[in-house]
């Protein structure tokens, strides 16, 4: 049964309250007075399609929700707007809105193209919540090993993480988040499983964040919406995700093999016993003192090989007990002084401070939209709306259509009104 004006008004008010927004804030975003918003919410003033579109964006809703038979008054995604401390910042709220709007459009495009990206097809690991940091570290490492095995990655570097995640049914997005937020994971039926990275962070940090958020996908799916911020790094969920990320990016065996190639990483003392039928022959060997000490240039190469930050490589070496606490501090000091970057530059391994991958997301999003247009699932005008969402200039979007052979307009028939 179709809803009436009063019901639409009630839903608009509930959606606003679910996001913790005031009428004043809504009026500013809508470009109307506060009393007008109040009148809309009382059902005394009709809301236009243009306004309803803006309200849907502001309240992170699908416009269809306002007019459907059933209306979900609240869900966990909207709770993110209220509960998170960054939610008081308008920039963060906008980033979240962009993520959700993009997630919905991606879901829509995939559905139009008949792509099966149901949440149920993505792997999940059933682990009870960790009771201590140690347990969180162990379970993160264990799942990383299992997942590497499941994906057949062996001990090699992971490669392109965006492709890996997308291949596993996880949507990836890149938006400008506050600096202290590395990423977020959203999981619901409208948005799908959507992992978002901070486009202003360095490439290596983004790689770590992809893995961190992937851990939330694999282990914390029930949480529905998780924001990863620096200030929460001590929470057990975050510790587990960080442990997963470090182990997934730099597997124990992979690190040891790489260091072996540099003539490093062997224990200072090796003891073995050779058995034959007559008895056991003990064999001891010691490495020459100092030869196994890991230097900054080793860290630079290790970080480059696994495409991680040098700092994350340093901590990984410490976790694997390949360096001491004192060595960790020394290497960190060198890195902080800029020595790591200089060594990387001199070794010709200096792409580390590049930021980006925003274009990668846009490329995939626009690629899907172009294909949907070619298959006539969407119109050219819808394509232009989608291009606008990923900040593609109208002229660039039109040029993309022309170069793709989808711009030609031809009036194959004359439609004239009868007089």
């Amino acid at each position: 049964m179709p809803i009436d004006q009063g019901e639409l008004a009630r839903r608009i008010r509930q959606a606003r309250e679910a996001c913790g927004m005031t009428q004043e804030e809504v009026s500013e975003r809508l470009g109307v007075s506060r009393p007008t918003v109040a009148q809309i919410e009382l059902g005394n003033r009709a809301v236009s399609s243009l306004e309803l579109d803006k309200l849907a964006y502001l309240f992170a809703r699908d416009i269809r929700e306002f007019l459907a038979d059933e209306f979900a008054e609240d869900d966990v995604v909207h709770a993110l707007f209220r509960s998170d401390r960054e939610a008081s910042e308008e920039g963060f709220k906008n980033a979240l809105r962009d993520c959700i709007a993009l997630g919905k459009e991606l879901t829509n495009l995939e559905e139009l193209m008949g792509m099966d990206r149901a949440l149920s097809t993505v792997a999940a690991y059933l682990f009870p919540p960790s009771k201590s940091k140690w347990e969180a570290i162990q379970s993160g490492a264990q799942v990383a090993r299992e997942e590497r095995r499941r994906l057949g990655l062996g001990v090699a570097p992971v490669g392109d993480l965006v492709h890996l995640l997308e291949g596993q049914g996880v949507r990836t997005g890149m938006v400008a988040l506050p600096d202290e937020v590395s990423g977020l994971t959203i999981s619901n039926t409208r948005v799908g499983l959507f992992v978002v990275n901070n486009q202003s962070h360095s490439l290596e940090r983004q790689r770590f964040s992809w893995c961190h958020e992937y851990a939330h996908v694999l282990l914390d799916r029930d949480a529905v919406g998780l924001i990863s911020r620096t200030a929460d790094r001590n929470s057990l969920v975050e510790v587990r995700a960080n442990s997963f990320a470090a182990n997934f990016l730099m597997p124990d065996e992979g690190v040891l093999q790489f260091l072996a190639g540099l003539g490093k990483g062997a224990p200072s003392r090796i003891h073995a016993e050779v058995f034959d039928e007559a008895g056991v022959l003990p064999v001891d060997s010691r490495t020459e003192p100092g030869t196994q000490d890991i230097q900054l240039y080793d860290v630079v190469q290790l970080a480059h090989y696994f495409e991680v930050s040098r700092l994350s490589a340093i901590y990984r070496l410490r976790n694997l007990r390949l360096i001491s606490e004192a060595e960790l501090e020394h290497l960190k000091t060198q890195e902080e002084q800029g020595d790591g970057q200089t060594v990387a530059d001199l070794l010709g391994l200096s792409k580390s401070d590049a930021t980006g991958h925003g274009p990668e997301f846009n490329r995939r999003f626009l690629g899907l939209a172009l294909e949907a247009l070619r298959r006539e699932r969407i119109t050219k005008s819808k394509f232009l709306d989608l291009a606008r969402m990923v900040h593609t200039e109208a002229t660039d979007a039109r040029s993309l259509l022309e170069r793709s052979g989808l711009a030609e307009e031809q009036a194959d028939e004359v439609f004239a009104p009868a007089m």
Binding site: A46, S49, R377, T379, Q410, A411
Partner: protein, 166 residues
Amino acid sequence: MNRVVVTDANILINLIHIDRLALLGQLTGFEFVVPPEVIQEISAPQQAVTVARALSQGFFKEEALVEIPALSLYAELVTTLGKGEAACLSMAVTKGWMIASDEGRKFRREVLSKIGKDRLVNTPGLLLLAIRLGVLSIAEADSALAVLASHRFKVKFKSFRDLLTN
């Protein structure tokens, strides 16, 4: 009683290209309506100024979509159509209006399935109507087609004379 035609952005842009936006105010028996979504789609600054001026001169009027059945249809259509297209088609369906659009493919199919070809008009159709109403000469309309062709909008006939004799 005037027939109301809800007008999409591509029609406005094509009429701007041929400097004939005023036609919309000259076609006796027809009244042209543009939803705000369409006005927002005219993003080129000079074109936006031209549209605003035409609006103030009363060549067409702006009308928002506010009725619940129209909003419901809009919400469904906007998943596959542009916002302007979705607003136009929702209005045309729920108010029984005609629609003016040059878009082919998917949008044309939606229009034909929802309101039928008798309620669809495109730029060549508007020019033909203008000739029939004596607002435009055949030569003027033909030269407009040449301008449109330079903007990648092509038709399958050589002259409006061919259409009038058929």
